[in-house]
C-alpha cells in the first residue's frame, strides 16, 4: 500500500502507554487531592516563622544582596545560598512534628 508522503507515521500503541506511576507520585497525588499537602505546608511555614528560621534566611539574603548589589542578584543565587543552611538549621522539634503528621497520613491512606 502506498503510504501518504506527508502524513507522519502513527505512533505505536506501545509508545503511548504510560509508565506505571511511582509510589512517590501516588503519594504526592494523594496528598494534594486530600488537601493535606496544603495544610502541612502552611503548618511548616507557620512553625518556621515562629522559631525565627525565616528571619535568619532573610538576613542571609540581605547580606548577600548588600555585598553583590541589589540589581545583580537572581532568585537562583538566593536559592543556592539558602538551601544548604536552611535544611541544616531546621529545629528538630519542628521536623519531628511534621514527619509525624506525614506518617500518620500515609498510614491512614493505606499506603
Amino acid at each position: 500500500m502506498r503510504a501518504s508522503v506527508n502524513r507522519p507515521p502513527t505512533p505505536d500503541v506501545g509508545d503511548t502507554q504510560e509508565k506505571q506511576p511511582t509510589l512517590e507520585e501516588i503519594i504526592n497525588i494523594k496528598f494534594i487531592e486530600s488537601g493535606e499537602k496544603e495544610r502541612l505546608m502552611e503548618l511548616l511555614r507557620e512553625r518556621l516563622i515562629e522559631c525565627g528560621w525565616k528571619d535568619e534566611m532573610k538576613a542571609l539574603c540581605r547580606a548577600f544582596v548588600k555585598k553583590k548589589g541589589r540589581n545583580n542578584v537572581t532568585v537562583d543565587d538566593l536559592v543556592h545560598l539558602i538551601t544548604p543552611k536552611g535544611r541544616a538549621s531546621i529545629p528538630d522539634s519542628i521536623k519531628a512534628e511534621l514527619l509525624q503528621r506525614i506518617r500518620t497520613f500515609l498510614v491512614s491512606a493505606a499506603l
Binding site: K95, L99, L106
Partner: protein, 178 residues
C-alpha cells in the same frame, strides 16, 4: 506481618523524609523569591539608606579635601546650600523705569546715576519733565513746554539754586532778587 510492617515503616520513614524535603524546598524557594523581590524593588529601606549615606559621606569627604572649594577666597564660584552658583555680576535684564531702556541688573546703579542724577546731561533731561519737585530746580515756570534754553543769561540759572521762592516769575531777562 511484622516483617511487612517493618518494611512499611522503613519505607514510610523514607517516604516521609522525602516528602518533608519537598515541602521544605518549596518554602525555601518562596523565601528566596520574596527576598529577591524586596531586593530588586528596593523595598528594604535600611539597605537603601545605608547606601545613600555611604555615597553622601564619600561626596562630602571629596568636597572637604578639595582645596579649591574652601572659604570666601573663591566666592565667585562658591556653591550655596541649595547647590546653586551665582555669577559675579547679576545678569537679569529689565527696563529702566526712568528712561525705558533695557538695562542689566548688575549695571543698574551706575545707569541710574547717569539716568537720574549726577551728569550734566541728566540734569537737562530732568528739567524737561513736568513733575513738581523738578520744577523747583527749573526757572519756576509751571508750563510744560518751558525751554531751559531761554534767552536769559546764564547767571539767572545760577541763582535758581539759591532762590527760595517756589513760584517766582521772571520776566524776560530781568533778574530779581528775593
Amino acid at each position: 506481618m511484622s516483617g511487612f510492617n517493618e518494611d512499611n515503616m522503613g519505607s514510610h520513614a523514607q517516604l516521609s523524609s522525602q516528602f518533608f524535603g519537598d515541602l521544605l524546598d518549596s518554602i525555601i524557594v518562596d523565601v528566596a523569591s520574596e527576598c529577591h523581590r524586596i531586593a530588586r524593588l528596593g523595598l528594604d529601606r535600611n539597605l537603601e539608606e545605608e547606601e545613600e549615606e555611604l555615597r553622601l559621606s564619600a561626596q562630602a569627604r571629596v568636597r572637604v579635601a578639595d582645596p579649591s572649594n574652601s572659604g570666601e577666597a573663591n566666592s565667585k564660584y562658591v556653591v550655596d546650600i541649595f547647590g546653586q552658583t551665582h555669577p559675579p555680576v547679576a545678569n537679569e535684564i529689565f527696563d529702566c523705569m526712568n528712561c525705558g531702556r533695557s538695562i542689566m541688573a548688575g549695571r543698574f546703579a551706575p545707569h541710574l546715576e547717569k539716568c537720574m542724577g549726577k551728569g550734566r546731561k541728566a540734569r537737562l533731561k530732568v528739567t524737561r519733565s513736568s513733575t513738581a519737585v523738578q520744577n523747583r530746580y527749573s526757572q519756576g515756570s509751571p508750563v510744560s513746554t518751558y525751554s531751559p534754553y531761554s534767552n536769559s543769561t546764564s547767571t539767572s540759572r545760577l541763582s535758581n539754586g539759591t532762590s527760595s521762592g517756589a513760584g517766582e516769575e521772571y520776566s524776560n531777562g530781568t533778574f530779581q532778587e528775593p
